[in-house]
Assembly symmetry: C2
Homo-oligomer: 117 residues x 2
């Protein structure tokens, strides 16, 4: 996998200083595919709940998220993987635990793409 490895006091590293966000297209076939991919990632109630949890900073460690949801640990892990693949969530190792947080770049991108529909 391509995870981050640097631990952090609370959660993930301070975002790699948003790369090429402003140069990305908001329209066209590529943007359509990108929006579809992001939307698909939040197209499940459990994943919306996880995103909301993280955005309130209510829960960050995987086990906390598992406790909040009526789902098996493996299922939650899979939802987290989907959110991570979509670029909406970041993770960091913190000893034996894994901290999760919002990927604000991805979320901003989603909001921008939705806003201009």
């Amino acid at each position: 996998m391509e995870s981050e490895t640097k631990p952090d006091a609370l959660c993930c590293p301070p975002q790699p200083t948003y790369p090429t966000l402003s140069t990305l297209a908001l329209e066209g076939a590529e943007a359509d595919d990108e929006l579809a991919k992001l939307a698909k990632a939040i197209g499940h109630p459990a994943r919306v709940r996880i995103l909301r949890m993280l955005s309130r900073k209510e829960a960050r460690v995987c086990s906390q998220i598992v406790d909040e949801l009526p789902l098996a640990q493996s299922t939650v892990s899979e939802h987290l993987r989907i959110l991570k693949d979509a670029g909406l969530v970041r993770s960091s190792q913190d000893g034996p635990r894994v901290g999760y947080c919002i990927d604000f770049d991805g979320l901003r991108r989603l909001k921008a793409l939705v806003a201009i529909i």
Copy 2:
């Protein structure tokens, strides 16, 4: 089906004067489910393309949409049904044809729900 039936010069009737939009919750389990449902509806490139088409008023009649996409008529009809079920699209009969247009209430709702994540 529960379609609209009143034809209109170009497309759909002038939106039934947005009902309870401002009283709907933006958070909580119901809002999560609602967002997931809306996001799922646009979680496919073809449906994003259709929404964009309609928002530009580039194509409104079903056959036009079919012509713009590399998909069979039945497949496009299914995508339109999904968008309609989600409340993102409206339809109106115009003789033997069917006009489609954005449901601005639904789209606004989607944008609002995404914006506050």
